[in-house]
């Protein structure tokens, strides 16, 4: 089994999906000969030709809208938005059209498309390249929002997203694209959507994260273990629909919960999880639910990016406060 990075796993899943279904097409800016600015689509052009690997004009509304048209007409488009900062413009088409086509026509038409975009901060790029629009997409009815945090889950979840008969927004943690490798078997096996993954079992506290912050959260859990604290770590993986059962069961066991997101705090998706706990898990809680998030400011240019982003230290501080409570 090859050791691959997350972006290579994305590439493997795309290659696999295009091989097994001639209806799968890939479109976006620079996805062809350049193989995508992060190389997620590397080699697809040579293998599947320019009809199925489509360099589009520079136009995100077109990319999203034409993916919708293709999907309605029976293809399985996988559209790439080059950076998450340019994905906000796509909310309109995703919300007003992709997520509604099936409902609007009562099942006559459907929209099996995937909108992929790198997501999150941490690689010190220019402005607009570090955004976290996850909470906005997660509020859109009729779609799924998936956000893997390891090469293996990227492979399995992307395959599942492409095969899903409905639209999926697939957010890829830019910071993890090349951060580490994992053995990924190119076995065409999709993972299950709509379910959280418990990455580490523990009895003392539940740590919930998604995307790149899963990495920092796991590091925090390791540090805690050295101190004799056993943290359960849950990777949300599918933000919409949210698998609260797994999170509730964990908190029922641990009684404490810290939710970690790299998005700006107010209105982040961490709120949705905390709200559900306050609604359905209140009696299990021994301590207030803490959210570790980025500040409610504009993502700064690179010099201050490290100060802006939550990190292991901030997670640990929140955990300690939570453990010390009551």
């Amino acid at each position: 089994m090859p050791q691959v990075t997350l972006v290579e796993a994305v590439n493997m899943a795309l290659t696999r999906a295009m091989s097994e279904d001639a209806g799968v097409v890939v479109l976006g800016e620079d996805v062809g000969v350049d193989g995508g600015v992060f190389r997620a689509t590397l080699g697809l052009l040579e293998r599947f030709g320019p009809q199925r690997v489509i360099d589009t004009p520079l136009a995100e509304q077109l990319i999203t809208g034409m993916a919708i048209g293709m999907a309605v007409e029976g293809l399985k488009p996988v559209a790439e938005i080059q950076f998450s900062g340019f994905a906000y413009i796509c909310i309109d088409q995703v919300l007003n059209h992709a997520g509604r086509m099936r409902h609007r026509t009562q099942g006559r038409l459907s929209c099996p498309m995937v909108l992929r975009t790198p997501c999150g901060a941490g690689i010190h790029p220019p402005e607009h390249h570090s955004e976290s629009p996850d909470a906005m997409f997660a509020h859109v009815p009729g779609i799924r929002v998936v956000y893997p945090s390891s090469p293996r889950r990227a492979y399995g979840l992307l395959l599942a997203a492409i095969r899903d008969p409905d639209p999926v927004v697939f957010l890829e943690p830019t910071r993890l694209y090349r951060l580490f490798k994992e053995e990924v078997d190119d076995d065409a096996k999709a993972l299950t959507l709509d379910t959280c993954f418990t990455l580490r079992e523990g009895s003392d506290i539940t740590l919930v994260a998604w995307g790149a912050m899963v990495h920092d959260t796991l590091q925090a859990a390791q540090r805690l273990e050295q101190e004799g604290v056993f943290a359960e770590v849950i990777d949300v993986a599918t933000l919409r629909p949210l698998d609260m059962d797994t999170i509730l069961a964990s908190v029922a066991k641990t009684g404490r919960c810290v939710i970690v997101t790299e998005a700006a705090r107010s209105g982040s998706f961490a709120a949705e999880i905390a709200a559900n706990l306050a609604e359905h898990g209140l009696l299990s809680l021994f301590a207030p639910i803490a959210r570790v998030a980025a500040y409610d400011v504009v993502v700064p240019l690179s010099r201050l990016e490290n100060v802006y982003l939550p990190d292991t230290e901030r997670i640990l501080a929140a955990v300690r406060k939570c453990l010390a409570f009551g």
Binding site: P57, D92, H103, L109
Partner: protein, 363 residues
């Protein structure tokens, strides 16, 4: 100094205001019985439009956007399409949807506020009404791309209004269609108004057809109230598209004889004279005159037609009013192919709310 680009916009018209041929009509319009058939569709559509307005006024239908005055445009385009082509309409293409085979009952259900109205029995591949202006232009690019990829001889037809030409999505779509030479015909139904905003406030461009020059695609203007001209221009554009010649932009000149919708009062912002003058150019009388002159139509046939239209429309309205109310399940059962477990409790809760909560036909 050199000239590196030269462009012309042509405009097409065959019938004058009185239905007299300005030049020999094209071959495709020389068969009177074909024209009579199209004329019948136009009259039925107007009859249906009037019924919709009446139902709305009496609280039996939701907000409705009348298409009165653009029957030549809709039927001209519709008659140039083939069955498995794909239409992407706005809310003002009720007549064109009828021409495509959508039933009056379905259209009534839709405008009555019920999603079942967009589950057309025929044509299964046409898009539902697009309310967000010009969003469907991008969808049309995707449809046409899929058609081309699979080497089918089908065409996507996307209709939008004069106001819609100001939206970025229209331009992104035009440009994409040009780049890939897609089998796609854009029809701008220029009815001179976008709610209260007149055509000249919408753009400094002398014609809307010239917007296609920006994307390097063939562009033409046509008298949208002249059935023969619309059909001819549409047939040309469809033939080009079907044979690999790529997209066309058609600007069809017409006039919005009605209010914008039933929620609008156009007397607030436009002149009665302008509307009266526009009635002189309306398409049905013009074609009728031409057919009468040709001897292909007569008064008795006209009366019989009006009577039959009235009956069809009444029957459809009755079927609509008799249609069972939608169930709350309708909100959940086609949200996804299968309802995710996370929402099943919500579905139950909604079902528990009295179905009587469903609003009446007025929406």
């Amino acid at each position: 100094m050199a000239i590196v680009g030269r462009f012309e916009i042509e405009s097409r018209q065959y019938l004058d205001l009185h239905g007299r041929a300005l030049e020999p009509v094209p071959a495709a319009a020389r068969e009177p019985q074909l024209l009579v058939g199209l004329y019948r569709q136009m009259v039925l559509a107007r009859s249906f439009d009037q019924k919709m307005l009446a139902l709305q006024r009496t609280g039996q239908l939701g907000t409705f956007a009348s298409g009165v005055g653009k029957e030549a445009l809709d039927i001209g385009v519709g008659s140039a399409m083939q069955r498995d082509d794909v239409l992407l309409p706005t809310y003002r293409e009720t007549t064109l949807q009828l021409a495509r085979g959508v039933s009056m009952l379905e259209l009534l259900l839709y405008w009555g506020g019920d999603e079942r109205g967009s589950d057309f029995a025929v044509p299964r591949g046409d898009f539902p009404v697009c309310i967000t202006i010009a969003a469907h232009c991008c969808h049309a690019v995707g449809v046409a791309y899929a058609i081309k990829l699979r080497q089918q001889a089908r065409v996507a037809v996307c209709v939008l209004g004069d106001g819609g030409t100001s939206k970025g999505e229209f331009h992104e779509a035009l440009n994409g269609a040009g780049t890939w030479r897609l089998p796609l015909v854009f029809v701008v139904a220029n009815n001179q108004w976008a709610i209260s905003v007149p055509r000249k406030v919408q753009s400094a461009a002398a014609t809307l057809a010239q917007k296609g020059i920006a994307a390097g695609i063939p562009s033409i203007q046509v008298d949208g109230n002249d059935l023969i001209a619309v059909r001819e221009v549409a047939l040309e554009a469809m033939a080009r598209a079907r044979s690999g010649g790529g997209p066309t932009l058609v600007e069809a000149l017409t006039y919005r004889l009605s209010d914008h919708t039933t929620a609008d009062d156009a007397t607030r912002y436009r002149n009665a004279d302008e509307v009266a003058e526009a009635w002189q150019r309306e398409p049905i009388g013009r074609l009728r005159n031409y057919l009468l002159e040709l001897g292909a139509w007569n008064k008795a046939e006209e009366e019989a037609l009006l009577k039959s239209c009235n009956e069809q429309v009444q029957a459809a309205a009755q079927a609509y009013l008799d249609h069972p109310a939608p169930s709350p399940a309708q909100m959940f059962d086609h949200l996804h192919a299968a309802l995710p477990a996370a929402w099943s409790a919500q579905r139950e809760a909604a079902m528990a709310r009295k179905t009587a909560d469903a609003a009446g036909h007025a929406g």
